[in-house]
Symmetry: C2
Subunit: 150 residues, 2 copies
């Protein structure tokens, strides 16, 4: 079962890495896994070292994200009116060393920063196909997360 | 629509890379795409430079494979009794430079070789969860593909 985080509806699921002398296998998601909400689209996003993509909020998409290459810090901010965790941030660094799947429901804000010097790659297994009408963006300074210490 | 190959039921679909100054986005699969046959499991497999994984045949799984990192040569062999392309091989190298999705139906043999000096990573979007009972393996020398020239 997924592990709860400090934001309601956001959770983490540990994933297996299966060692193999010719090259390892890394799990990403099974349809029977916690957080699976149907399949819509799978895509990769890369983020350069030191760059931050976000803030972005999806109105309908549930995201399931895995980082098989490099290291990425995810920050989530909850400003949902009815949420028991309204006003809080959650952050986590994912990589092969901390190989977990991050499940993010619609309605919260997210951004992510590339930490690895080389390629930083995430796979998002989304429950719907990309639709530019269902998401919105805000400038990075909109919410008071202090990136300087990270 | 997917592009047919020299083996019946195996096809390729060109995928988009969307350039972004902070890091590019690479499509993998949408549920409306050719080759999508339902979602069962997504996993990554890596293969070291010069190593070959295979031969392996799935009896029920349809595979959809994408190579976002490195370069991998895939070789497929058709020994299906009823197939119009029985006895033939198909090979293709996939990478970011040749960014296509390879759809492989159940019933044919596949192996793949790592070509990049660093990480060679494939994502398989499979229509069923892993089940060791539905696949079989054969030694690399079982079919007459000449790896020496590759």
């Amino acid at each position: 079962m997924g592990k709860v985080t400090s934001i309601d509806g956001v959770f983490l699921t540990s994933l297996k890495c299966i060692s193999h002398p010719k090259g390892n296998v890394f799990h990403a998601m099974k349809k029977s896994d916690p957080g699976f909400n149907g399949f819509g689209e799978a895509y990769f996003s890369t983020v350069n070292c030191g760059d931050i993509k976000g803030w972005k909020k999806h109105h309908r998409m549930t995201m399931n994200m895995v980082v098989p290459v490099g290291e990425i810090r995810f920050v989530i901010y909850d400003d949902r009116t009815e949420s028991p965790t309204k006003g809080t941030f959650f952050d986590i660094c994912l990589s092969q060393r901390n190989y977990q799947r991050l499940t993010v429901p619609p309605g919260v804000w997210m951004c992510f920063k590339g930490l690895g010097n080389d390629l930083n790659l995430l796979l998002n297994l989304a429950d719907m196909e990309h639709d530019p009408e269902e998401s919105e963006n805000m400038p990075l300074g909109s919410f008071a997360y202090d990136w300087r210490t990270q």
